[in-house]
Every structure is written in C-alpha cells, then in structure tokens.
Symmetry: C2
DNA sequence: CGGAAACTGTTTTTACAAATTTGGTTTCCA
DNA sequence: TGGAAACCAAATTTGTAAAAACAGTTTCCG
C-alpha cells in the first residue's frame, strides 16, 4: 500500500525526468501526479533521496533481469552472453540517459553510485566472456577492456544526437547488431 | 619560402591549439613562434582563416595517405580496408580533438566544413567494404551504418576522459584491436 | 489523512555596467 | 623587411545587485 505509492512516486519522477531532465522540481512531480508535495515528503525526505532510490530501482531491475538470464536453462554459453549483453542497454529505454548531463556536479554522490553500479553491472558479462575464452570460444588475445569500451561507446552514441533516428534503424535492431558484430569479432 | 612560413604558422598554431584549445589568441601564436603578429597577418587575413587552412591541412594529409593506401600494390582487399580504417584515426594523434568543444558555436562555418570532410572521409572505406560484401567476404546483412557508428564512437571514446590511459593500453594498439574486432565481426 | 496554498531561507537566474581581453591595424625603428 | 609595441573598436569576462525559482515546512480545511 505505502510501498505502492512510493513506487508510484519513483516511476512518476522518471517520467517527469525524461521530459525535464535534472531540472525537475518537486512541484513538477506533485503536479504531474495530482498530489501535494506534502504527500511526497511523507515518503521521501528530500529530492536527492528520490533520485537515489531511482538509481536503486533501475539497477535492481537490471540485476533481476540478469539473474533470470543466468538461471535460465537450456542456453548455450554464447546465447547467454548475448542476452546478458543486450539486457543492460535495453533498460536504457526506460530512462533518458542523455538528460543526465550535470549529474556529476549537481549530485556527486548519486553520480558515483551510478558509476559504481554501471561498472559492477559488467561483471557477470565479463565472467561469461572469460569462460568463453577458457573454452576456446573466443580468441585468447581478445582484450575485453576494449570490447567493453566499444560496447559502451556504441550504445551511448545511439542516444546522442539524432544518429539513429536519422538513419531510421530501430534501437533494438541496432543494439542486436552491435552485440552481433562484437561477439563475432572476438570469436575464433 | 613563403609557403614554408605559412605552413610553419599552421603547424605552430596546431601546437598552441593542443595546449590552449580554441581560446588561443594571435598573440599566443606570435609569442610561441617568436615573431610579431604583423608577420602572421602578412600570410593570413584573420584567425578564422588560419583555422580554415588548418582543417584543409589536416584533411589533405589524410586524403594523401588514403590515396597512397588505395594505390599501394600487392594488398588484399581486406588488408587495404584495414589500413584505410586505421589511417583516419591515426591522424587524430596530430590534433587534440577533445579541445574542440565550442567549435560549433564559435566557428560554425569551420564546424560544418570539418563535419563534411569527416563525413566524406568515410567514402573510400565504405566503397571497399561494399566491394568486400559483393565478393562474399562480408555478411550480406552487415549494416555498414552501424559499423561506422561503432568505429566512430569507439575511437572518440578513446580520447574522452582517461579511459585508455587508465587501462594502460597504447592508442595504436587499441585502435588496431577495434579495427580487428569490427572486421572480424562482419566477416562471414 | 491529504490536497491547496502560503511561507521562508537559500539557491539560481537575470540583467547590466565596469573591466579586461582580443583581433586586427598602424606607427616607429633597426 | 620584420620585430616591438602602441592603439582601437568590438567582443568577452567579471562583479554584482535585483528578481525569480526552488526545496522544504507549515497552516488551513474538508
């Protein structure tokens, strides 16, 4: 009941955020939800706390999806890796990462937290990639740090400017193609 | 003789630019070269003209290198493509692209020119890639637009932040690995 | 309880004039 | 011819004071 409303506030804040970016105000959220600020402050002590909880909410969702993929049966190592690689950027559709400019300066704590979780989110994937290498699936000389940079940078680029929309390629298609090229690229 | 000095000014300006970015002044250049502004204005009518000529200087160099690779004999299609792909970002070491922020606002004409030349610089490479596809070397379903985005984004990332330096991978090695993964990634 | 709205101390934005810097020209001089 | 330096109009930066917006609290009221 109470948790429902808390979640509701988080989700609404995400929606408002995707429109107004970090500049959103508590009044914006209240207005969007048709409630008063008083109610919001009943569940959260500050705006920063809301942002903080949103980070948890997003990344916990990803973590959950990761666990599903990891415990899914009947998948080859390669298939599992593929799914894992795509799972992360798929969640990018939820929140508009391009509106995150200035986070580092305005909310350094949240910035660091996000950075940490973005970083640790790669661990299961790297684990599978290393397994693949050990099994002789991937080239011994493949440097996964480069792999990671390429993946990160490519996905990030999809959100910058109009690159993707201008070329008319759906995001999910582009994402799959990137994963495809990268995995084929390090395969023996 | 005169051309020598013109070139000298261009190269010196690049050096100063790599230190001070777009904020460099004519006095900076004159001081660095140990000459007076008068001499600079003998060869160039304005600062913008210098920047303009630098763009030509850089891209003409790339163009020349491209022509060399294209006319080099005894290379397989794949080897030629490889060299071509690496040629472009190799020139990035000459000029510090990270200091180019604000170019779009300060010198829109030069920004557009650079964008155009960056864009057209891909044409020979795309040509070779298409040839490769026609010869059955690359997958028919490989989308070179995605390929290009991945290449661009990855190389650009190498210059942002400390990504590369922190991991201790030399730029040229990283660049080769990217080209390697991408070409293997679309190969049949 | 919770919405509407007023309230307050702080932060952010705006506005604008003063001070500085800069691009480009000119003068002097060796 | 070309360096040093003065010069000037235009652009940029800086300082700052007023205005606006904001986060968070409180009051009123149904």
């Amino acid at each position: 009941m109470q948790d429902d409303q808390k979640l509701d506030i988080l989700r609404s804040t995400i929606t408002v955020f995707n429109k107004k970016g970090l500049k959103l105000t508590m009044d914006d959220i209240a207005e969007y939800m048709g409630i008063s600020k008083k109610t919001i402050y009943k569940y959260f002590n500050s705006k920063e706390e809301i942002f903080n909880k949103i980070v948890d909410y997003i990344f916990d969702g990803i973590k959950k999806r990761e666990q599903e993929i990891l415990s899914e049966e009947g998948l080859s190592l390669e298939q599992r890796t593929r799914k894992l690689l795509a799972a992360f950027p798929e969640s990018y559709t939820e929140i508009d990462f391009t509106k995150l400019g200035g986070l580092k300066d305005k909310y350094p704590k949240i910035y660091r937290k996000m950075k940490r979780r973005l970083e640790s989110g790669w661990e299961p994937t790297l684990e599978l990639l290393e397994q693949g290498k050990a099994q002789g699936l991937y080239r011994k000389d493949a440097d996964f740090r480069i792999f990671k940079i390429m993946m990160d940078a490519s996905v990030a680029r999809f959100f910058e400017t109009d690159t993707l929309r201008k070329s008319g390629i759906p995001y999910i298609d582009a994402l799959n193609q990137v994963v495809d090229i990268l995995l084929s690229g390090i395969r023996i």
